[in-house]
């Protein structure tokens, strides 16, 4: 009961003031037959040291100490220690949504700065305070596009993160928003011809990802042109925010739905992350999520408030632009601090290091196996096709304390024995060389097996 600030005497005195004979008097409204008369069957109260030990043990069972080549929507970048030092301040950590602006200017100004930086980076005019994550952000962006256009079907690139596609499907089902998929070509980019064919006058938007799930940068302008020609909006999902340091943002998009996890948010086994939606000013009243805006106080001093709340559920209820309430504020603050630390020059340099590591790795892998889509520009991910099933190779890599690239079979059976590899500034050359070595060994042994089976056949 170490969190409870009451002594038995306090409780007694309070009950007396209230005029209750015992605490259970206060629970009288609960029908007696439902009242729990036993202890919950959960673990007994533990000491803090036991709790810490228990989770440390879980940590040791959870890949502690492995070097990873996994990306696919969750990226390992260095997190400057300043981030946690600052977000751990109780004034940020333990405050609520800044509904009372005069008592929450810290959070509000930080949100305003977050929105501003997201705009700078994405080339959009307005950005919101955050969405749950990249996948739900993308789904909300599509619903927003449907409201904006009044159209009611959606085109989705197959090269969008497959789990984002699934989420999109879940959200769209009951919105009367039929979805269809646009394939990618051998370049790893969206099939523009296919897009032209699928798009129609009822298309609310085209949803693509760039860099896409394979790390390939799409020709956004070409896609935008097609979309706009048909009165559809272009929604671009960005899953790897660090790409914005060196990859031109999709300025021709109408809505950008971004996952900002790369900006200082721990991998954390998949969450909490930080979605964010950015768009043009003229679309702002259809935007979901909270917005901080600048205003003045009664003495003319600059200050910030949550604004345009008439879009939101607590005012508009069933007519709101979204049902979102709690968002990812503290994670957005991490992102904010990360963007501030790296800033104008650092984000570029960081992105460049990612590019260089990835280029080196792709070159090395390319010597032994096939790197798919290698004619297209890419950021920090690439697909390696091997002769052997990549799961088997990954199994061997675990022995080197390395987590290999993501096996694509589950999501993209059409690419065969392929895996999605990711390098960031954290990936060392020696880890790359080790992984390449294991892949090379695999290729060699498959070749020699093939040779010997050829020999066998010959014999």
């Amino acid at each position: 009961m170490r969190y409870l600030p009451k002594s038995p005497a306090d409780r007694e005195a309070m009950l007396q003031t209230i005029g209750a004979g015992s605490i259970n008097d206060l629970f009288a409204p609960i029908p007696a037959e439902y009242r729990l008369t036993r202890d919950l069957n959960i673990p007994r109260q533990m000491a803090e040291s036991e709790i810490v030990d228990w989770f440390r043990q879980r940590s040791r069972e959870n890949g502690e100490g492995y070097t990873s080549f996994l990306g696919a929507g969750a990226y390992l970048h260095y997190r400057p220690v300043v981030i946690d030092a600052l977000i751990s301040r109780g004034e940020f950590l333990t405050s609520y949504t800044p509904y009372q602006a005069e008592f929450a200017q810290g959070t509000l100004q930080a949100i305003f700065e977050f929105q501003s930086m997201i705009c700078e980076l994405t080339g959009m005019e307005v950005a919101n305070a955050s969405m749950y994550d990249g996948s739900t952000g993308a789904a909300e962006a599509v619903m927003m596009a449907a409201r904006l256009t009044g159209h009611s079907s959606v085109l989705i690139a197959r090269s969008l993160h497959p789990e984002y596609r699934e989420v999109m499907a879940t959200y769209a089902t009951h919105q009367g928003l039929p979805m269809s998929t646009v394939p990618f070509t051998a370049t790893g980019r969206i099939d523009l011809k296919g897009l032209e064919q699928s798009i129609g006058s009822d298309t609310a938007c085209v949803l693509i990802q760039s860099p896409n799930f394979f790390g390939v940068i799409e020709d956004v302008d070409a896609i935008a042109e097609i979309a706009h020609k048909h009165g559809a909006l272009l929604v671009v999902s960005i899953a790897e925010a660090v790409s914005l340091g060196i990859v031109e943002p999709p300025r021709s998009a109408d809505i950008i739905a971004m996952e900002a996890q790369s900006f200082g948010v721990p991998l954390g086994f998949g969450g909490p992350y930080c979605g964010v939606i950015a768009t043009r000013e003229k679309f702002v009243r259809q935007m979901p999520g909270r917005l901080a805006g600048q205003t003045t106080d009664s003495n003319g001093k600059r200050g910030f408030v949550l604004t345009l709340a008439t879009r939101e559920q607590h005012i508009r209820r069933e007519k709101a632009t979204s049902n979102i309430c709690t968002n990812q504020a503290l994670v957005a603050l991490m992102v904010n601090i990360f963007m501030t630390i790296y800033g104008k020059v650092g984000l570029k340099e960081l992105a460049k290091q990612n590019l260089a590591k990835t280029e080196y790795a792709a070159q090395q892998f390319g010597k032994h196996a096939k790197v798919l889509f290698s004619g297209s520009p890419r950021f920090n991910e690439f697909v390696v096709e091997t002769s052997e099933d990549p799961s088997a190779i990954n199994g061997r890599l675990l022995g080197h304390k390395i987590t290999g690239g993501l096996t694509l079979k589950k999501f993209f059976p059409e690419v065969g024995n392929a895996a999605l590899w990711c390098c960031t500034e954290m990936t060392t050359r020696s880890a790359i060389d080790t992984a390449v070595g294991v892949v090379a060994d695999s290729e060699r042994s498959v070749r020699s097996m093939n040779d010997s089976s050829v020999e066998e056949q010959v014999r």
């Binding site: 206060l26 405050s95 996948s135 993160h161 086994f269 559920q313 260089a356």
Partner: protein, 498 residues
């Protein structure tokens, strides 16, 4: 100050501009390690996709960043500073050990796609938390995937819809009491249901006869908050459940107010079919200025086939894993597995409390709310005299006669060093003062709060104009929200170069 408060004083507070106003070319807070692979020719690799310029992104040093955010932080109120009685928000203590364990290396750095073999720790956490939450709610199956309460509602209603669909008819409507939180109707709309209002009775509860009248085969579910947003336990919950079930409908419970129930009564036992929890309310994960949250959805057996994918399962070799192949699933509601970091924190909270601690927590939460109710009865109007559980809702009826509204008194409360109560709802109370102290408040702090509220009521009597001008003791005075909405300035822009 008209009246004195023992709670707070004024002190010097640092000013701070926008970060962009501190930027200057050549300052930097980062440093990358030397590159251990060859440099690349970006133009050659990216072609026209190369970005040349990052616009007005700031350039500042580390000490400036530390000061910037430290100064900003000091402008916030927080649970760590004192009582934060926002009704419906359960602003309880956020234990520090939660933060410590969430940062343990293998948990903070685990990749969602790392092989199951090296994900057993995370899976075990999800499994253990699920077990605990099922025991606490008395439900049969659970998903941890939803990112917050509202997404929990969405997930729950999707399952409701899938369930009815599986019976051949998704039905058309969801019944929602007029006292409900805005996310309830907003969610129902997202799932494609029409919202039908259910009027509360004079005791602030669902009127059984009204429910009887409105319930029919078109109704998919009733979304009920229990205790409801008045802090009132629906005494006839069993009848409500029976009525719903009789017509094939389901009972959805918004679990935002579970802090009134944990360890004392289980929704699964009183007829709830599906409900969400807010780990960021009842289970102490921090609010962080608005999030992140986590909104697990617990269901009865009949709804289990519809849970989002993946779910955690135990393999035959006793290791844990994810099961994706669930044909009746409503699908994913977000990428990966949910806000895992919040699972860690919530489980740490459950461990720190145990069965005895959780029960005592609930008792103290209810005790605190009733203590405040007692202290302010008569001073503020109590629109519903029904017994309060974990929160109490007053109205500004008495003070409104002097032209002072709930929001004005809220602003004045800031001068007394307290964060205000919730003013935005429940809509059935005009000018609501929705007060939820949680269990984390000592008697001393409650007494100060009661004193402050009484003092404000006196001020309203003596000098209503004065109260209307509040707050006076904050670094900025009342902000112009109308202007903010009329001419939205939603981002900083560099001054046009002259």
């Amino acid at each position: 100050m008209k009246h004195m408060t023992r709670k707070a004083t004024r002190h010097i507070s640092q000013n701070e501009g926008l970060i962009f106003e501190k930027s200057s070319p050549g300052k930097a807070a980062y440093k990358l390690p030397p590159l251990d692979v060859p440099e690349v020719d970006v133009a050659a690799l990216l072609g026209k996709a190369e970005r040349k310029d990052l616009g007005n992104m700031p350039e500042v040093s580390e000490i400036e960043i530390i000061r910037h955010f430290t100064r900003l932080s000091t402008w916030n109120y927080a649970i760590d500073l004192g009582m934060y009685p926002l009704g419906s928000c359960t602003m309880k203590y956020n234990p520090r050990v939660n933060e410590a364990v969430a940062r343990v290396e293998g948990l903070a750095n685990g990749h969602p796609y790392q092989p199951e073999k090296i994900s057993q720790g995370a899976l075990r956490i999800m499994q253990t938390l699920s077990d605990c939450l099922l025991e606490i709610t008395g439900m049969d199956a659970i998903t941890l995937q939803p990112a917050a309460g509202a997404q929990g509602e969405l997930t729950g209603l999707l399952m409701v819809r899938a369930y009815h669909q599986s019976k051949g008819n998704p039905r058309k409507k969801v019944l929602i009491p007029d006292s409900a939180h805005g996310t309830n109707p907003a969610t129902a709309a997202t799932v494609g249901y029409a919202v039908e209002n259910l009027k509360s009775n004079s005791r602030g509860m669902v009127e059984i006869s009204a429910l009887e009248a409105q319930m029919n085969e078109d109704v998919a579910a009733l979304m009920l908050t229990n205790p409801n947003t008045l802090g009132v336990f629906e005494e006839e919950i069993h009848k409500i459940a029976a009525l719903m079930h009789a017509k094939g409908g389901l009972l959805y419970m918004d679990g935002a107010n579970m802090n009134a129930l944990v360890g004392k009564v289980r929704p699964g036992d009183f007829g709830v079919d599906v409900m969400h929890l807010n780990l960021h309310k009842t289970f102490s994960t921090p609010h962080g200025g608005g999030g992140p949250g986590s909104g697990p959805v617990a269901v009865k057996q009949i709804l289990e086939p519809f849970l989002p994918t993946p779910i955690v399962v135990k393999h035959s070799d006793d290791t844990l894993g994810f099961e994706y192949n669930r044909p009746q699933s409503v699908g994913r509601v977000r990428a990966f597995y949910g806000n895992f970091g919040m699972f860690v924190r919530a489980l740490a909270y459950i461990f720190a409390n145990g069965p005895d601690g959780l029960r005592q927590t609930t008792e103290d939460a209810v005790l605190n709310a009733n203590y405040i109710r007692k202290g302010l009865e008569g001073v503020y109007d109590l629109p519903y005299s029904t017994p309060s559980m974990h929160e109490v809702v007053f109205s500004d009826k008495i003070q409104a006669r002097k032209g002072v509204k709930t929001m004005d008194m809220a602003k004045r409360l800031i001068d007394y060093g307290f964060h205000p109560y919730t003013t935005a709802f429940p809509l059935i109370v005009s000018g609501a003062l929705m007060i939820e102290p949680t269990e984390s408040e000592p008697k001393e702090e409650l007494d100060l709060f009661i004193e402050a509220m009484k003092s404000i009521a006196e001020e309203v009597e003596e000098d209503p104009e004065f109260v209307l001008g509040a707050p006076y003791h904050t670094r900025i005075s009342r902000l112009d929200e109308t202007m903010a909405a009329r001419k939205p300035v939603l981002r900083w822009k560099s001054e046009p170069k002259s």
